[in-house]
């Protein structure tokens, strides 16, 4: 089953709380800004502004915070947590440089 992939598995196949929401494999974006915040983070990691693991741990922390004691009823959407993580990490990286 040889088929080409260019997406990075460590991003596309994150598991656990950080797993990208998918419906039968297809990514679920509700709005354009969600898609945009996704590609911005991926692009910055590809260019080395940060390691994907750095972003992923921010994302997990942000998701856990939103989930609190009830993972089925998080206080905000997945990409809202994503955006918060991106803002935090950028804040850190851009002041460092």
């Amino acid at each position: 089953m040889k088929e080409e992939r260019i997406a990075k598995p460590e991003i596309a196949e994150m598991s656990g709380p950080a797993a990208i929401p998918r419906k039968s494999g297809e990514m679920v974006f509700h709005d354009d800004w969600e898609r945009k915040s996704f590609t911005i983070a991926v692009s910055l990691a590809e260019q080395g502004l940060f390691e994907w693991e750095e972003f992923q741990s921010e994302l997990i922390a942000s998701i856990k915070e939103a989930e609190g004691d009830d993972p089925h009823h998080p206080s905000r959407g997945y990409f809202e947590s994503w955006l918060i993580s991106l803002e935090k990490l950028l804040d850190k990286k851009l002041t460092e440089s």
């Binding site: 596309a12 196949e13 990514m27 509700h30 800004w33 009823h73």
Partner: protein
């Protein structure tokens, strides 16, 4: 069918935001984007390309490795048929979000084929993105009623004495077909075997051909 639940338990599948919230969030993203474009840290065309790459990414096609292992290792096959979720995790493949995997084995007597009659439930962690025909109404409705006819459309003609079993996927249960190992592949390695296992054979609409 009324107990057949297709509502995925993922809390992130529906948006609960209103227009104003969305607008505020979009503005935050636009602000980041503008800053990064100005600093030359991102490029517009690269962003568009990435969206395309990730949204159309075929996904992990680990199913072929699972099948190849089952072909060469009888003990593994036994575990796979007993508890596919654990056996698949044994090979290091995860990513299931609460769904259970069930493996069904094709034999000279029984041919299995998978569908999701109500929507398009599909085992992403092992088969990647579903093909468009899998999601089509034609396939979903017809394969249950006339599986042999549908299989013929895929070039798979089964003798009359072969029993055809159709498995309807749900939010909780996803099926993987273990196709028959073709004759003439006795000398192939596990890796070479994985290369000949294609997606359609693991949905059960085709057989695996020897290389």
């Amino acid at each position: 069918m009324s107990t057949h639940n297709h509502d995925t338990p993922n809390p992130y599948h529906d948006s609960h935001r209103d227009e104003a919230q969305n607008k505020a969030l979009a503005e935050r993203v636009d602000k980041i984007e503008a800053l990064l474009l100005e600093k030359g840290l991102v490029a517009q065309d690269a962003l568009d390309k990435l969206a395309d790459i990730y949204e159309n990414d075929l996904g992990p096609m680990n199913g072929a490795k699972v099948v190849a292992r089952a072909w060469v290792d009888d003990e593994y096959k036994k575990r796979l048929l007993e508890d596919a979720t654990s056996a698949i995790a044994e090979l290091g493949f995860s990513g299931l979000q609460g769904e259970h995997m069930v493996a069904v084995e094709n034999t000279p007597e029984v041919h299995n084929v998978v569908v999701c009659t109500l929507c398009s439930c599909y085992p992403w962690p092992v088969l990647g993105l579903p093909p468009s025909w899998y999601k089509s109404f034609a396939y979903r409705s017809k394969v249950v009623i006339e599986p042999r006819e549908v299989l013929k459309e895929f070039g798979t003609t089964l003798p009359d004495d072969v029993e055809v079993r159709v498995w309807d996927s749900s939010a909780e249960i996803r099926y993987l077909v273990i196709p028959e190992r073709p004759e003439g592949t006795e000398n192939l390695s596990e890796t070479e075997l994985a290369d000949i296992v294609n997606r359609d054979s693991m949905i059960g609409v085709t057989k695996v051909a020897a290389p």
